[in-house]
């Protein structure tokens, strides 16, 4: 089959590799009809997250048809022929964390848990197409994928719903929604969101679904700011204004009720702190550049909430802990507990409340993936979200 492989920093290649096979009793094999490139794939593309291996198959947002199931699969939950969206987190459904609905903290799905324990104390769940610290599972930017514990995660899609409407249930819609839920929104609240990428665009809409009165979105890419305004947000371009001053002004010296960092470890900023962060990241002294996180902490109102869906990999320096402590901030974060959100959000799509396909800017054959990574990273050609079709040679514009 064709698969997008990570061959080194900024080196993605499409290779012909063997088809996946059932390895464990609760595995299934999915023939992939649609898959995407995610912003968090860019952290891997840029080589900033440790523990990738040359030859790894990328991708954690995919859907398709079940073509084979292992002998241990609960046939009431999944069978051959089902059309499913696969969540990016892998969960066993049996451990105490799964039972407590903390699906992305599953205790049994990461075969390399010992590596994560060295860095985090305890290991979160395994993920598709990500680092080996988080399992090293082959991903979904391919024609087929092996899905472990397939009777827990994948959700069946009703007939007649096109891939484009449901594919984002695999990651970014639930991730944006959980980020909004983590803001502890009370009716009429003001939420500030750093970043206007695909997850943020879902987070803006989710904030309004949960009763927010105002959403202030911060970015510097014109088309992304435009999309944020379309979603109902007020926008700030951090190239043009001092974000902290502007937020103060807009909220009458009170600060937003909740601040959301949808940017994560590769944030862009200005000034001496940003320069130091970038130098340290280049030298591998600090894996993450917490520019946005610091600003969000400073901007947040007293007693407010910080919601952090942006990806961080390891340790960060110069975090204003004094501000967190003395202002009494609440910190909420985590990989998305996918299985909590997929069914309710599918219902919102079915009812017509939201059509997630608004976020797609490019649909390309899988052979175009290496160029698509570069285009997405450099935000060329107004790229917001790339959808890949693994079985098509040419896609009509």
């Amino acid at each position: 089959m064709k698969a997008v492989c990570w061959m080194g920093k900024e080196k993605m290649q499409v290779h012909n590799v063997p088809d996946p096979t059932i390895l464990n009793p609760r595995d299934a094999i999915v023939r992939i009809t649609t898959t995407c490139i995610c912003g968090s794939d860019l952290h891997l593309y840029d080589g900033f997250v440790p523990t990738l291996e040359q030859g790894d198959i990328m991708g954690h947002e995919f859907m398709g048809e079940v073509v084979e199931v292992g002998p241990g699969i609960n046939r009431d939950k999944l069978k051959v022929g089902d059309r499913v969206v696969v969540p990016f987190t892998i969960a066993c459904g049996n451990c105490q964390f799964c039972k407590d609905q903390l699906w992305s903290c599953c205790d049994n799905s990461n075969p390399n848990a010992w590596i994560a324990e060295k860095i985090m104390g305890y290991s979160p769940s395994g993920l598709f197409g990500y680092t080996h610290m988080l399992g090293g599972y082959a991903g979904g930017q391919a024609q087929y994928a092996r899905v472990p514990f397939a009777d827990v995660g994948p959700i069946k899609v009703p007939e007649g719903m096109p891939d484009e409407k449901v594919i984002f249930l695999s990651d970014i819609f639930p991730t944006g929604y959980m980020a909004a839920e983590n803001c502890n929104i009370r009716s009429g609240d003001t939420i500030a969101i750093w970043g206007c990428g695909p997850v943020a665009l879902f987070a803006i809409r989710s904030c309004f679904m949960l009763g927010a009165g105002r959403v202030i979105a911060i970015d510097r890419v014109p088309e992304r700011l435009e999309m944020a305004r379309t979603a109902g947000a007020e926008t700030l371009n951090f190239e043009e204004v001092d974000v902290l001053e502007a937020l103060k002004e807009m909220t009458g010296n009170k600060g937003p009720d909740a601040c959301m960092d949808v940017v994560g470890m590769e944030a862009t900023g200005h000034g001496i702190m940003f320069a130091v962060d970038r130098a340290k990241q280049m030298a591998r002294i600090q894996m993450d550049r917490p520019v946005v996180l610091r600003q969000a902490i400073m901007a947040c109102k007293k007693g407010g909430t910080l919601s952090i869906p942006g990806v961080y990999a390891s340790f960060i320096d110069k975090v204003p802990m004094g501000a967190i402590m003395n202002k009494g901030l609440i910190l909420k974060t985590g990989q998305t507990h996918m299985m909590r959100y997929m069914q309710p959000l599918l219902e919102r799509i079915q009812s017509g409340e939201i059509d997630p396909s608004f976020v797609i800017s490019h649909t390309l054959p899988i052979d175009a993936a290496p160029d698509a990574y570069r285009m997405f990273r450099d935000k060329q050609d107004k790229c917001i979200k790339v959808v890949l079709k693994p079985w098509e040679q040419q896609i009509a514009a």
């Binding site: 698969a3 080194g8 590799v17 390895l23 291996e53 039972k99 075969p111 010992w114």
Partner: protein, 252 residues
């Protein structure tokens, strides 16, 4: 509960650092490995030089290390989502052990108390020994040791204790092995994931997974692109070649 005691403590090792350095041999080997890993991950000539320097450090350690072999014992506890009965059943059928003890190939029962254990040793050679059950208290604990004259001097004890607050079963495993090769052997064992502390912890983690889900997560045998020298080295460093079970064969 009837006492299920560890044979391991009878000649417990005393922790002493007889190295002439201010750091132990393990630290040095870890540092050298980190250099090699970092150097290789740079994928450049400078990186190769860094990796070579790491290799030099390892060689130096090999030359300067002549410590005798010390027995190593280790103890790990996991809280598992099951009853003591289920946990005891899975462990007491000793033929199940290779499903979660990654270094074991086969355990064959000889009679009620004795069993033949086959493990994969260095250079893919098999290491065998006969183990004898010393104590066996249903639903509470099992202890065993290798019979005198075996290739490997090893003993172990596992105990099962229901959490008084009803949150599952505490499983504690203690095992003792004597590692060949002295301090360097221990260092190399650490890198390749064969150090007893690591092995017992991972064995128990896999036992928990098997008990809770009926299988042990693995990526052995999954599809991938060309690994090249870098990819293969990374697989070894992440212990994916030594610390992940063969699929299905171990879970069938």
């Amino acid at each position: 509960m009837k006492q299920v005691s560890s044979q391991a403590n009878q000649d417990a090792p005393t922790q002493s650092n007889s190295s002439q350095h201010s750091f132990g041999p393990k630290t040095l080997v870890f540092g050298a490995t980190a250099l090699i890993a970092y150097g290789l991950s740079r994928r450049s000539k400078a990186g190769t030089a860094v990796a070579a320097a790491g290799g030099g450090l390892l060689a130096y350690q090999a030359f300067s290390s002549s410590q005798p072999s010390k027995p190593s014992d280790t103890r790990t506890t996991f809280l598992v989502n099951s009853s003591p009965e289920q946990a005891y059943q899975l462990w007491r059928n000793l033929e199940n052990l290779p499903r979660f003890m990654a270094h074991l190939k086969q355990v064959r029962l000889l009679d009620g108390r004795r069993s033949q254990w086959i493990a994969s040793g260095p250079m893919d050679r098999n290491v065998q020994w006969t183990a004898e059950i010393i104590e066996d208290v249903p639903n509470q604990g099992i202890s065993w040791r290798s019979l005198p004259g075996s290739d490997v001097d090893t003993s172990g004890v596992v105990s099962f204790r229901a959490d008084p607050l009803g949150r599952g079963t505490y499983i504690t495993a203690e095992m003792q092995y004597r590692l060949p090769g002295g301090a360097l052997g221990a260092g190399v064992a650490t890198i390749f994931g064969k150090h007893p502390e690591f092995v017992v912890r991972e064995d128990l983690r896999r036992f928990k997974a098997l008990l809770e889900t009926g299988e042990v997560a693995t990526t052995v045998g999954q599809a991938h692109g060309p690994r090249g020298v870098h990819g293969h080295t990374e697989q070894v460093l992440f212990r994916e070649t030594s610390n992940q079970p063969e699929p299905l064969a171990r879970t069938a």
